[in-house]
């Protein structure tokens, strides 16, 4: 509990650190011309989910593309979409479903690259609780995260006409592990592995992947504000291309990428371990480059967009589906 209270002070110190870093960078590269200062905020704390960006930064790939980047540490108390909207960051990552809602509600953001093609969001249940298929969830306690994390589970419940008891779930899986809920929402690359590494064997768990039920939602994408895109389209493309290169480098050099991410996680005082980050990185590769797809990295397919937007509309979260062309701009050499 103390953590929350003390974090306010820590936030200031991190800002101070970035400011000093910024000053050092500025002075060090004062003679270098044409390096555009740009800031970027991933939508969660440093972890392998964002390895591509951190690796591109560490390997100076952004510099190669003429970008002097500052990465702002994301997290539960620092919403990336707010930072983007308020101009505190030039680029941000966001879930597709979140971004569509923002767009529909008048935030003029633009998707310039769709990184994660597959839903990492999934439901898990203990086999011992007798849950083998969606129908078995009827009448069970389901731990759900709030907001956009509920879209797919609720769509699934509608699809199978399930009456479940929803329990709000925090970002720990302890409620599930202690038996407080029968079914939990997890990210495949994160909490799923946490469960495995809390002593539950994969064969003791029933996994529900949404893409198996026709409810695949692409997740992480790179966003910027329309103004930025209009003003500096080259910069946006440079950022996308550098990020894609960063991801490619990451997948080619997983051990090095892990070293980098472990360092950032440690700096952010996040409890983590290398094997967990390794799992996350491997899953990110599965999600960004799904095995059965020949799609180039970073594409957003209209069909995926339609599915997500339609679901949002069905849920009453948006009134109108934003125009795909206005939402997504294919950028750079994708």
């Amino acid at each position: 509990m103390l953590r929350f209270i003390e974090k306010c002070g820590q936030r200031f110190s991190i800002f101070l650190a970035y400011f000093i870093l910024f000053l050092i960078t500025v002075s060090a590269h004062a003679d270098e011309t044409a390096l555009k200062k740009v800031s970027f905020i991933p939508h969660w704390a440093p972890q392998a989910q964002f390895a591509g960006y951190y690796v591109a930064y560490e390997k100076e790939i952004y510099r190669k593309y003429g970008i002097d980047l500052t990465i702002i540490e994301g997290g539960p108390d620092r919403l990336a979409s707010d930072y983007l909207r308020e101009g505190k960051a030039d680029f941000a990552t966001s879930w597709l479903s979140t971004a569509i809602q923002k767009k529909a509600h008048g935030v003029s953001l633009v998707n310039i690259a769709q990184m994660v093609q597959r839903s990492a969001l999934m439901l898990v249940a203990r086999k011992s609780s007798g849950i083998q298929k969606p129908e078995d969830m009827n009448g069970k306690k389901v731990g759900l995260w709030d907001a956009d994390y509920q879209l797919q589970p609720r769509a699934l419940f509608r699809k199978y006409n399930l009456n479940v008891c929803v329990v709000p779930q925090s970002f720990s899986v302890n409620l599930f592990l202690r038996g407080g809920v029968d079914i939990a929402t997890v990210m495949w690359y994160n909490e799923y592995h946490t469960i495995i590494n809390s002593g539950l064997n994969p064969d003791e768990i029933t996994s529900f992947f949404f893409h198996d039920y026709g409810l695949n939602f692409p997740e992480d994408g790179i966003y910027t504000m329309e103004d930025t895109l209009i003003k500096e389209p080259e910069l946006c493309c440079a950022f996308v291309n550098a990020s894609l290169e960063g991801w490619k480098y990451t997948f080619d050099h997983p051990a090095e990428a892990l070293d980098i991410m472990m360092r950032y996680a440690a700096q952010a005082h996040l409890p983590s371990n290398r094997i967990h980050q390794k799992w996350m990185l491997e899953r990110m590769k599965d999600l960004i480059l799904p095995g059965n797809s020949y799609m180039p990295m970073g594409m957003l397919l209209p069909s995926d967009y339609d599915r997500v937007a339609r679901t949002l509309k069905e849920c009453g979260l948006i009134d109108t589906v934003p125009d795909f062309a206005a939402f997504y701009r294919k950028c750079g050499g994708q």
Partner: protein
């Protein structure tokens, strides 16, 4: 091995036995001491674990009491906001080990207007501070410390967490749900908590020391490492993530047993060093955590291993010393034996003058050497005697040979003996036995009278041959013109009996053929009766005259018989060497067989029938050396011309 010397065999056998016995004792000793030490270590670890678990449990239980008392107060008394805040404040202030405490309420439960109501006192930099928890950014309803006890409706120890602000202290919260009775129904109202630092826990666990580097560690219900000497693992790794990173399925299974609240004693590879370690684990029942005590197997064994090293060195040194002693002993036995063996080899080759080494030791080898010396001189003497004897024997044998030759030379050997006499044909053969025997035959003409004799002297050897020579000479000497055979035998007997000190005797058949008439006078002195082979084919014995052998008694009278031979009749004379010839089965030739042979014979020509009979006897005996001479004489009468 078979062809090796005694020394080698002794060394190899004794040493291998010794090494085998030593290795057996050594191995048993190692196994036994190892088991004993491991058992002791297990017991030690078990008692240490039990003590530590009890220490921790005592503290945790005492902390559990605080929220329990708070909830008792909340459920059973009515209170206002000030009293509630004072309660929490006093709890934090008066309990050293408590870092923070809150009583958090369900939405709109305490205060109908506010969603959140959670007064929180906490210690920071030595002071007790206050804050209200809850807000858009901290929706405590969904925090583990609130939600889990609420959903489970039972008190819960939270997973340990890092208190970032408090200086990297591991914290843990004990949360207890409390209810309010509304119209007889208990309704969940909120959670009372106590936050504690786990630093004391780390100290307790760190005080566990086993062997040199043995240590204790604590894992939470999720397998999270709460305390461990390796600081990097704490709160970063679970036992399962370590198992995954090390690809150690066994460790994962052990971890699952631990978080299930089981106890056990297993062999694992240490998470950090990878060394084989014993792990003893036991649950902390109140929190569901698990305490593990790890100690490297080889460290336990360090003393045993060093003892074993010393014992091995001593053993090897002992075996080496034993080797030396055995070599000396083996050689002290084997050397004289070898020298003796060499000497006897020379003796075997015939060198009896070889010097037998003097062996001073008075043991078996010494006696053996003495025996060799006496054997050598005895052999020498024996060989000398043997040489002399052999020389004497050779001389005698050569003399005997001469005697035999002489004996044979006095018998008529030229056939036909009287080529100008056509009235008869005579033929005789003597097949001498190995030894010089006493058979003889003779024939001579005095005018128209053919005297013919066959005899057999008793005994063998030179005396027999001399006696035979005397007899033969006497017969010839005593015979005068017309003298009948009985008279010849009587006279010869008389002379033989004179001075017959050796008590020898001779059987003689003597006959006289009148070549003109075919009359045959004969007298027998104890000899085999000859056969008369009639020209018409019948074979019969001559009638016996019944005289006894010559040289036995002086005044013995002999009878003569007379038969008349017809033309081509034949007389067949033989000695007992024929009928008593033996075959390989020691069966005798017998009179019967002789008679049958004679009957079967197609011819009575002496020169033919004699080889026929002799060959038959040889065939019968098939090379068996015969004891007696085989002598046959045949006389065929053709009639006067």
């Amino acid at each position: 091995m078979k062809n090796r010397g005694i020394a080698f065999k002794l060394i190899v056998l004794i040493l291998s036995c010794t090494v085998f016995i030593f290795a057996g004792i050594f191995g048993y000793n190692y196994q036994y001491s190892r088991r004993m030490i491991e058992r002791n270590a297990e017991e030690n670890a078990r008692s240490l674990t039990t003590t530590t678990v009890n220490r921790i449990e005592t503290i945790l239980k005492s902390i559990e009491k605080i929220p329990e008392n708070m909830t008792y107060f909340l459920e059973n008394t009515s209170y206002n906001k000030r009293e509630l805040i004072n309660l929490i404040h006093s709890v934090v202030k008066n309990n050293q080990e408590i870092y923070g405490s809150t009583v958090s309420f369900e939405p709109y439960t305490f205060d109908k207007k506010s969603l959140y109501f959670a007064p929180y006192f906490y210690k920071s930099q030595g002071k007790v501070k206050f804050a209200y928890l809850g807000g858009e950014m901290y929706r405590y309803f969904y925090m583990d410390w609130y939600q889990i006890p609420k959903e489970l409706n039972s008190p819960v120890w939270s997973e340990p967490y890092y208190d970032v602000g408090g200086g990297n202290i591991i914290m843990c919260t004990y949360s207890m749900p409390f209810c309010k009775t509304v119209s007889g129904k208990r309704e969940f109202t909120g959670i009372a908590t106590a936050d504690i630092s786990l630093e004391w826990l780390r100290e307790i666990v760190a005080s566990i020391k086993i062997a040199r580097t043995g240590y204790g560690f604590l894992i939470s219900k999720n397998g999270m490492i709460v305390t461990h000497p390796e600081k990097n693992l704490i709160m970063n790794e679970t036992l399962f993530s370590i198992a995954e990173a090390r690809n150690d399925i066994h460790l994962r299974e052990t971890g699952r047993e631990m978080i299930r609240g089981k106890s056990g004693f297993v062999l694992i590879s240490d998470f950090v060093s990878g060394k084989k370690c014993w792990l003893l684990y036991a649950p902390l029942p109140s929190s569901g955590w698990s305490l593990g005590v790890v100690f490297p197997r080889d460290e336990l064994m360090a003393d045993v291993i060093s003892l074993n090293r010393t014992v091995s060195c001593l053993g090897i040194a002992g075996i080496a010393a034993l080797f030396g002693v055995i070599v000396v002993i083996a050689h002290s036995i084997a050397r004289p034996v070898r020298v003796l063996a060499k000497a006897t080899q020379d003796i075997a080759k015939g060198n009896l003058d070889v010097e037998i080494p003097v062996i001073k030791s008075r043991d078996e080898v010494g006696y053996l050497a003495d025996s060799f010396i006496s054997m050598k001189s005895a052999l020498k003497q024996y060989i000398k005697d043997l040489t002399d004897t052999t020389a004497a024997k050779e001389r005698i044998e050569s003399e005997l040979k001469i005697a035999h030759d002489i004996q044979m030379s006095i018998l008529p050997k030229i056939f036909p003996p009287f080529p100008n006499r056509t009235e008869f044909d005579i033929y005789a053969v003597i097949e001498p036995a190995k030894e010089v025997g006493g058979d003889f035959y003779d024939f001579f003409l005095i005018e128209d009278n053919l005297y013919f004799v066959i005899g057999d002297v008793s005994g063998k050897g030179v005396p027999a041959s001399l006696f035979m020579a005397v007899t033969k000479t006497l017969i010839k000497a005593k015979t005068t013109k017309g003298m009948l055979p009985d008279e010849i035998l009587r006279r010869v007997n008389k002379d033989l009996c004179d001075g017959n000190e050796a008590s020898m005797f001779v059987t003689i058949f003597c006959g006289l053929l009148n070549t003109q008439t075919g009359e045959v006078y004969y007298s027998n002195g104890g000899h085999n009766i000859p056969y008369l082979l009639h020209s018409h084919g019948a074979v019969e014995l001559l009638p016996n005259t019944g005289g006894m052998a010559l040289g036995v008694m002086e005044d013995v009278a002999y009878q003569s018989n007379k038969i008349i031979l017809k033309t081509n009749d034949c007389l067949f004379l033989y000695t007992d060497g024929v009928t008593e010839a033996i075959d390989v089965h020691e069966e005798q030739f017998t009179d019967l067989r002789l008679k049958e042979m004679l009957q079967k014979s197609q011819t009575f020509s002496p020169a033919e029938i004699i080889p026929e009979i002799v060959n038959d006897v040889k065939r019968f005996s098939s090379g068996v050396p015969q004891a007696d001479d085989i002598t046959v004489l045949a006389l065929q009468y053709f009639g006067s011309a």
